[in-house]
């Protein structure tokens, strides 16, 4: 499964690099010790920064939540435009009315690559997500209102981390886009 994970990171190389960059910035802000500053490695740490596990529940949650926000926000416009074109409007390589090469088709493919790369590199390392879950919901180190407030984001973070851990996310979302393009 590591091979599949590495392939997905290689395919989304720039976004993986960017994701690790955000992780590193956040670790410095949260004063968490970083073991290894290599962003791309030939193992399951590829696209992540090796660090000490966060000790407090709040720090852990904010570390897992905030690191994905920049990539998430950057991916939205690119995905909106490209998925609209591909799935809903049915943009083709040649424009249907003029017969000319469609610049929007080329741009949609590029924007889709940018968007899906960013989208598939927004979740933390699975171990970090597990650590967050343990601290908040197993060891219950936060008050009840905060546990309720953080529940949905925590579940989403766990799910995202799981999918990214095995490299499933990239292939899943790309396949979903292809299927939607054919059936919608």
């Amino acid at each position: 499964m590591t091979i599949i994970y590495l392939i997905s990171k290689l395919l989304t190389y720039p976004a993986a690099l960017l994701k690790a960059f955000w992780e590193h910035c956040l670790l410095k802000m949260l004063k968490v010790a970083v073991n290894d500053t290599r962003y791309m490695q030939k193992n399951e740490m590829c696209g992540h920064v090796e660090h000490e596990l966060t000790e407090t529940a709040l720090k852990s949650f904010f570390y897992c939540f905030l690191q994905g926000i920049p990539n998430f926000l950057l991916s939205l416009p690119a995905l909106f435009v490209s998925v609209s074109n591909i799935v809903f409007f049915g943009i083709t390589p040649h424009d249907m009315t003029s017969g000319k090469v469609s610049a929007m088709f080329i741009l949609s493919i590029v924007l889709y690559y940018v968007g899906i790369s960013l989208w598939c590199n927004k979740s933390p390392l699975y171990e970090d997500a597990l650590n967050m879950w343990e601290l908040i919901y197993v060891e219950k180190k936060l008050s009840m209102p905060l546990r309720v407030l953080f529940f949905i984001p925590s579940v989403l973070i766990m799910a995202g981390s799981f999918l990214e851990r095995y490299g499933i996310s990239l292939f899943l979302y790309t396949a979903a886009t292809a299927v939607l393009a054919l059936i919608v």
Binding site: A33, N35, T37, F80, F88, S102, M104
Partner: protein, 490 residues
């Protein structure tokens, strides 16, 4: 001290050593709960971020910003129009749904022009995709017919993209139907020429039907069979005009094969029903069509005209009231209210709509004409509105004549009917406005107002119909023309 080398297999952590540098734990360099020695901990907290990665962020942010700009300027409005159109389609308001797709095409074309002017015209920068066009064409096929949708595709879609998955899925069936219709029509025209007859009424009906069947084939598509039956009905119309039942029979078969060709059906069936006096199937088809397109103006008009033929004026008025639901204050609505009330004999009631029509629409009518004269391009909606108002204006003139306001009628028709029709066709290069009904009402008003010069100008476009000539010769009155319906062109 050399850096501790990470083992290449998992071994239990030896908590006596710092996992980073391998330094043995002692009280001097470790705090009680720390995993790493203090030097390593300090170093780990002071690691440097790889700043060159910021260029990746700048590049991706540029793409995202561009995408956000496109989304706000173009894609969100287009998506909103698409959703509105589909909603209108669900409500069976097909004309309005069609207008929304027209707006999308216009918006995309406008933005494409702006971008092309800056970046070059070799590429198409912004255009509707295959699915958007496919939905547009589907609405056209439901509004009109498969063959009309096919004609629209041929005018809209470039030759070099007429193949492939999207073309075959969204466009090919309509183009095939269009090709079937024109091919069959062309083959039949060749057949007529080969028989050597000078007039269509001299054809042998049985031979013509045999020829049509031979060119259709048993495995033909439903639309091809429909067109074959329509051709047979057309031949029967020319060859045996007194035998309207035969025409109706073929038309009914035609409708069974392809109900979307209802316009062709209704057009010929209107004539046949007038001859036979049996409008039952005609009304049923009208009702079926309106169920799928609640604002199908042409079908409402067919129904109202059919009811007028049967002198069922109250029924015609209630159909007109239904028509008003989606056509409030439109020229067609006013025209039919004037026509129905006139035919009912209630001139005063009909005349009320003259003022209402003028108040509601004359300004827009004048503005569109001004734009046409200035050679500005007008939208399809404006073009349609102009032609409808032209028809409405004729009835306004007719009612003024019935109220003995000859000079007012002459002024009105002279300006708003004849001049508008003449100059519209002249500037736009069409012949659709200056038709028999314009010639008839203009000659009538001009003659009654004793302006021979005007009448001479109008007659240069064509001669008035026999009913108008009879009225001017005193053989029939204005009431016969408009109240009894002798003026067939109006």
């Amino acid at each position: 001290m050399k850096e501790f080398e990470r083992p290449n297999r998992s071994i239990p952590k030896d908590k006596r050593f710092c996992p980073h540098c391998g330094e043995i734990k002692n009280k001097k360099s470790f705090t009680d709960d720390s995993e790493y020695c203090s030097d390593c901990k300090k170093a780990m907290l002071k690691t440097r971020v790889k700043w060159p990665v910021i260029f990746v962020f700048i590049l991706f942010a540029a793409f995202s910003a561009f995408a956000a700009f496109l989304a706000v300027k173009c894609y969100i409005p287009v998506s909103s129009l698409t959703v509105k159109s589909e909603k209108l389609k669900g409500e069976k308001r097909l004309y309005e749904a069609y207008d929304k797709y027209d707006e999308i095409n216009d918006m995309m074309a406008k933005y494409d022009d702006v971008v092309s002017n800056r970046l070059g015209t070799k590429l198409r920068w912004l255009g509707p995709g295959a699915k958007t066009l496919g939905s547009f064409v589907k609405i056209e096929s439901e509004m009109e017919s498969y063959s009309d949708a096919g004609a629209m595709i041929k005018s809209m879609i470039s030759e070099n993209v007429r193949s492939g998955y999207y073309y075959n899925k969204y466009f090919a069936p309509y183009v095939e139907a269009n090709d079937d219709f024109y091919k069959l029509d062309s083959l039949f025209n060749d057949y007529v020429q080969s028989t050597g007859v000078s007039d269509a009424s001299d054809l042998s009906f049985n031979d013509a039907v045999e020829f049509i069947d031979s060119k259709t084939g048993k495995d033909a598509s439903a639309h091809k069979k429909c067109y074959a039956e329509y051709l047979k009905a057309s031949v029967a119309y020319y060859v045996m005009p007194d035998n309207a039942e035969v025409v109706q029979e073929y038309l009914n078969k035609m409708y069974e094969y392809a109900p979307d060709e209802y316009l062709k059906y209704l057009d010929l069936s209107f004539w046949a029903c007038k001859k036979t006096g049996d409008y039952k199937k005609f009304y049923q088809v009208c009702d079926d069509v309106v169920k799928n397109n609640v604002n199908n103006k042409s079908v409402y008009e067919f129904k109202m005209d059919a009811l007028l033929n049967e002198e069922k004026y109250d029924d015609a008025l209630s159909v007109c009231t239904e028509f008003e639901k989606y056509n409030k204050n439109t020229p067609d609505y006013f025209k039919y209210m004037m026509k129905i009330n006139t035919r009912k004999g209630d001139i005063d009631e009909a005349y009320k709509y003259v003022d209402a029509a003028e108040k509601a629409n004359i300004d827009r009518y004048g503005d569109i004409f001004t734009d046409v004269l200035a050679q500005k391009s007008i939208s399809k909606n404006d073009e349609l509105f102009f032609k409808e108002q032209l028809q409405c204006t004729m009835w306004m003139g007719a009612l003024m004549l019935l109220k003995d306001r000859v000079d007012d009628a002459y002024d009105y028709i002279g300006e708003y009917c004849y001049s508008f029709a003449y100059y519209y066709d002249y500037v736009a290069g069409t012949t659709s406005c200056m038709n028999q009904s314009v010639i008839d009402i203009s000659v009538l008003c001009g003659t009654l107002a004793k302006d021979d010069e005007f009448v001479k100008n109008v007659k240069s476009s064509g001669e008035p119909s026999q009913a108008i000539q009879d009225c001017l010769d005193g053989k029939i009155t204005l009431e016969d023309l408009f109240v009894k319906g002798r003026a067939e062109t109006l």
